[in-house]
């Protein structure tokens, strides 16, 4: 099972993204609704990918990238564009193959 951390503040969108990721069967998504929660979850689980959604400030995104690069330097980070997005799977494949 490939663990994917999804980060964003819009609860319905995050839940839709999680549902779409989990549907694949090979992937499992964990939601972080804030910068702080993302930092904590990153230490608890061995994620293969972090997906940045909407709602984080530009500064929070930069700080998270810096933090992840320090504690999980091999963790790929990509942006996603909402749960209805036809892009979700392509972005994941691009990041983790």
């Amino acid at each position: 099972m490939i663990e994917i951390l999804i980060i964003g503040t819009n609860q319905p969108i995050m839940e839709t993204v999680k549902r779409l990721i989990d549907r694949d069967g090979k992937w499992f998504a964990t939601i972080a609704f804030s910068y702080q929660e993302a930092c904590e979850l990153c230490l608890e689980k061995d994620f293969s990918l972090a997906l940045f959604g909407g709602g984080l400030t530009g500064e929070e995104e930069k700080e998270l990238q810096t933090y992840f690069s320090q504690v999980k330097p091999k963790l790929p980070i990509v942006k996603h564009y909402g749960g209805g997005s036809g892009l979700l799977y392509a972005e994941i494949y691009q990041a983790i193959g």
Partner: protein, 238 residues
């Protein structure tokens, strides 16, 4: 020297969901081709046909500029900002998804399909307040010149978006040569031939072919038949 990429119509991804047939120039949903992810800030170009009485149920987006150009039939739009509108050929619709938006698009006419282009661009600014716009293009009688339908500027022709992009539509007679001058250094143009036959940079395009050109300030288009085309100028890095 100009660089180019050619995407023949029959090499696009195809999704057939019964109610929706979608021809995808770039990787989308179940179509994944690592060689076809984007053209600069242009991430999605779907050539969609929605069966009468069917449509896209409510679903979310964030941080994407989403443009719809109807070609035939009508789509009825509803979104989480309270907008309810019908769009049809001769109009253009824009959604800046920003911090998040839900919307649905239905073809409420059971008697005929709705055909439209669905185009997504990466924005140059994330987490903006979501925004919806729709305008009538008034380009029916314009021939042999381009009509700007989208730009980054609020006071310019067409809808405006959060990206340094310019879209132009044009209907041309056979044997017309015209030049397109790019607005901004570092931009490229993705040409999508809606109908006809044209020649660009020595390359002949047929119906629904796509052709990207960049590292140039201008290029020439010659029509080899009556033709309709869409030019999408977008930043190549963003």
């Amino acid at each position: 020297m100009a660089q180019t990429v050619l995407h023949r119509a029959d090499t696009r991804g195809v999704a057939d969901h019964g109610w929706l047939k979608s021809f995808q120039s770039f990787s989308f949903s179940g179509y994944y081709n690592p060689e076809r992810i984007n053209f600069g800030a242009l991430r999605v170009l779907n050539d969609d046909i929605v069966t009468g009485g069917k449509g896209f149920g409510e679903h979310p987006h964030d941080n994407m500029e989403i443009i719809s150009i109807p070609l035939e039939g009508e789509l009825t739009h509803k979104d989480s900002m309270g907008n309810v509108a019908t769009i049809k050929a001769g109009e253009i619709q824009l959604m800046s998804a920003g911090t998040g938006i839900y919307h649905s698009e239905y073809n409420l006419d059971p008697s005929k399909p709705a055909k439209f282009l669905q185009i997504w661009l990466f924005p140059n600014k994330r987490n903006v307040e979501p925004r919806y716009d729709q305008i009538i293009l008034n380009n029916d009688d314009v021939r042999n010149q381009f009509v700007q339908v989208l730009s980054p500027n609020q006071d310019d022709e067409g809808v405006w978006i959060y990206q340094d992009a310019w879209f132009n539509l044009g209907k041309f007679d056979e044997n017309i040569t015209t030049n397109y001058n790019l607005h901004q250094k570092g931009n490229g143009v993705y040409v999508f031939l809606l109908k006809g036959k044209i020649k660009i940079n020595g390359q002949v395009l047929d119906n629904r072919d796509g052709f990207g050109i960049w590292d140039t300030e201008t290029f020439e288009i010659t029509t080899l038949a009556d033709s309709e085309l869409l030019l999408m100028e977008v930043p190549m890095t963003f």
